[in-house]
């Protein structure tokens, strides 16, 4: 439902001294385009280096590994954070990277509770995530400049997983790395133009939550996770 739009827009047009325009897409002839040349000349390896260096600034642990070692590394990080419960997305990439065994056999057998997001369980997923010690997701697009993981949340990729647990781990396939937000924005905008659905929630996440509201002192860990790790992995 849209309410009171007519008078509102007419009022704006009147202030601008013209007829209201609701149908003719305005031309965007930008004179400046600085984002087109920002960090675009870096090689993939240089992007990895940039990403890694920025992790320090955002208080995020950085781990680089191979697909074969990923399972051991992930298990390691979870132990370092004090174990389960663990909340994860429903995501076929866990199987692609051979992590299914860990999620469904090794962890449960070791007594570590795991919840793979299950839409049938509805709000119970949120409750579980809220109690979880670790949340784990993949990154859909990764920004080197700001060390940011971009998460598309819908269906099995619940928003809560990267938000409610005490700590957060993002698994980052190397191929998802792009220079900066520019490339992510272009990709999403293209989706819109092709009339593909944009997910109801997109998060650009750069490290753990923080605040400087008390005497400008940085506090890492406020409402979201208090610690974060990025595991960057060779593609499979």
């Amino acid at each position: 439902m849209i309410q009171q739009r007519e008078t509102f827009l007419n009022n704006i047009a009147a202030a601008l001294g013209r007829e209201v325009n609701k149908t003719k897409k305005p031309e965007r002839n930008w004179k400046h385009n600085p984002q087109a040349v920002t960090l675009t000349d870096l090689s993939q390896d240089e992007l990895v280096q940039l990403f890694k260096a920025q992790c320090v600034n955002i208080h995020t642990d950085y781990v680089e590994t191979t697909a074969a070692e990923l399972k051991a590394e992930l298990s390691n990080r979870v132990d370092m954070y004090g174990g389960g419960p663990i909340s994860v997305w429903e995501d076929e990439r866990f199987d692609t990277y051979g992590l299914g065994v860990l999620l469904r056999e090794e962890w449960p057998q070791a007594g570590v509770e795991v919840n793979e997001w299950d839409i049938q369980k509805g709000a119970d997923n949120i409750k579980f995530a809220e109690k979880a010690n670790v949340g784990i997701t993949f990154s859909d697009i990764t920004l080197a400049e700001s060390a940011t993981v971009v998460l598309f949340s819908n269906g099995g990729q619940g928003r809560s997983v990267s938000l409610l647990p005490q700590t957060y781990i993002a698994i980052i396939p190397k191929s998802t790395l792009v220079p900066r937000m520019t490339q992510a924005a272009q990709a999403i905008s293209k989706k819109v133009q092709r009339e593909e659905a944009v997910p109801p929630c997109i998060n650009f996440i750069s490290g753990p939550s923080n605040s400087a509201d008390i005497e400008m002192n940085l506090v890492v860990g406020v409402h979201g996770p208090v610690k974060a790790t990025y595991i960057i992995v060779e593609d499979r």
Partner: protein
């Protein structure tokens, strides 16, 4: 709270605030830190001026085509299953939100930081309707617990409070027993607020930028509270000033890059969240119902006037962080939820000259604000324009500059903070100085200013010295 934070007069407020030593120390160190971090991250981009120019042209384009983009936005929100309410006035916006709250029989509402809801005085309306309204941004939470102390900065609202004061408030109001260590304080707020998020009926947020092409709203935050407010409660209400919109994700990205650097000196904040409509089928979190309230509340009266460019503002506070007057008198002196240079320009436009005609005089017209603004709003020119309008209307200035500067001048002679501010001004003005001569071709307002009086280059004579000499002259 509405735009005005108390009944006091500007002059009295200045006096009151000048006596607050902690506040003044906090303000100046915050300014220094934020200014430094902004410059550092801006520099890293390499071509900051290009970015600013692009930011400016995007914001100008949006204002010129605001009707089209609001039409596009609202159509797209509706397609996604959301509701859009266009509110001409604060009362209208509040009425609509109160209606939604009543229909949902909501008891508890969590809010993430939003200047526009402060501006329209939403909390008071909802509290009167019997709701518990909880501010969840750490700074705003502190202020709310402390008997609704007003914000003194648009990005760091509790800047004027020290950690011991905060500890006392927490001890008194939320059973806090630990030290005044900021991390311990923040962790306690985390725990207390977590249970509020989980039991809230409605989440209310502001909006940094709406994206017309996809019907999205966005939230640029560090703490994660805006994400919580839009993940757990069943209903989400987002309130946005009508000008806070961009055409597509591509312009969105540019403005976010400018905003995070200018506001907090970060390449990106911890969370930039883009939300498009309510949850979809198969989603287990996110709101079931989504309402977008688009607020005019005096903004359209600014469109089409010589003050239009103030609507380019992206609320980053960079202008506040470099202002020597803000540094000296603090945020509360402005008596507006929008302090500093942006507040001195915007508040009289939204709140009227009757209550705020002194604000355009709370400036040395040094131009540091204009230089800092990521979307190139000519703030000091607009301040000067205000003065012209006021003098034309009233036949005289509402507050003599003498009185104003005397108020600022308390301790100024021995106050190194004030000198820093004017030192910065010297740098800003450099391009306009011809061999240490008087400024003859300053940017707009200086030009006009020089037309009516001599304005010596700050390099040779600091403003306060110049003023002191003038003051002496006035007394004759």
């Amino acid at each position: 709270m509405s735009i005005k934070i108390s009944d006091g007069q500007f002059k009295d407020k200045v006096k009151e605030n000048l006596q607050d030593d902690f506040m003044r120390g906090a303000v100046s160190s915050a300014q220094d830190r934020l200014r430094f971090r902004r410059l550092e991250t801006a520099e890293e981009l390499g071509n900051w001026e290009e970015w600013r120019s692009h930011g400016e042209e995007i914001r100008k384009h949006v204002l010129e085509n605001l009707d089209y983009y609001l039409q596009e936005l609202s159509e797209n929100v509706q397609k996604l299953g959301g509701h859009v309410h266009f509110a001409q006035t604060a009362e209208d916006a509040n009425r609509y939100i109160e209606d939604v709250v009543k229909k949902k029989e909501a008891k508890k509402i969590v809010k993430s930081k939003s200047m526009v809801t402060e501006e329209i005085g939403l909390n008071a309306v909802l509290e009167k309707a019997g709701c518990e309204v909880i501010e969840t941004d750490l700074g705003e939470y502190i202020l709310q617990l402390d008997e609704h102390d007003p914000p003194s900065h648009i990005v760091a609202p509790a800047l004027h409070k020290n950690k011991e004061q905060i500890r006392k408030v927490f001890a008194e109001k939320i059973n806090y027993t630990k030290s005044n260590d900021p991390t311990e304080l923040a962790r306690h707020a985390r725990e207390t607020l977590r249970s509020e998020f989980l039991t809230a009926d409605i989440g209310i947020t502001g909006c940094n930028f709406a994206i017309a092409e996809s019907g999205s709203i966005s939230l640029v935050t560090n703490e994660g509270n805006a994400r919580l407010a839009t993940t757990v409660p069943k209903t989400q209400i987002t309130v946005m000033g009508m000008e806070r919109i961009v055409p597509t994700f591509e312009e969105f990205e540019v403005l976010v890059s400018l905003l995070t650097r200018s506001a907090v000196g970060q390449k990106l904040t911890s969370y930039v969240t883009v939300l498009s409509g309510p949850r979809r089928e198969g989603d287990a979190d996110g709101p079931e119902e989504f309402h977008l309230v688009i607020v005019d509340n005096g903004r359209s009266k600014i469109l089409g006037t010589e003050f239009q460019s103030v609507l380019q503002c992206i609320r980053c506070a960079a202008c506040i962080n470099v202002c020597p007057v803000y540094r000296h008198i603090g945020g509360h002196s402005y008596n507006s939820i929008y302090p500093g240079p942006i507040g001195a320009v915007l508040t009289p436009l939204l709140g009227g000259y009757d209550d705020f005609k002194e604000l355009p005089y709370a400036s040395t017209l040094c131009g540091a604000c204009t230089e800092a603004c990521p979307v190139k709003i000519p703030l000091h020119e607009l301040l000067h324009k205000h003065r012209q309008v006021i003098v034309e209307k009233e036949g005289k200035a509402p507050i003599s500059e003498g009185l104003m500067m005397k108020a600022f001048g308390i301790g100024a002679a021995s106050n190194p903070l004030y000198t820093t501010g004017t030192k910065l001004a010297t740098k800003v003005m450099k391009p306009f100085m011809k061999d240490k001569e008087f400024i003859s071709k300053g940017p707009g307002p200086l030009k006009e200013w020089t037309a009516i009086r001599e304005f010596p280059t700050l390099k040779n004579e600091r403003f306060r010295d110049w003023y002191k000499n003038r003051e002496g002259g006035d007394k004759k």
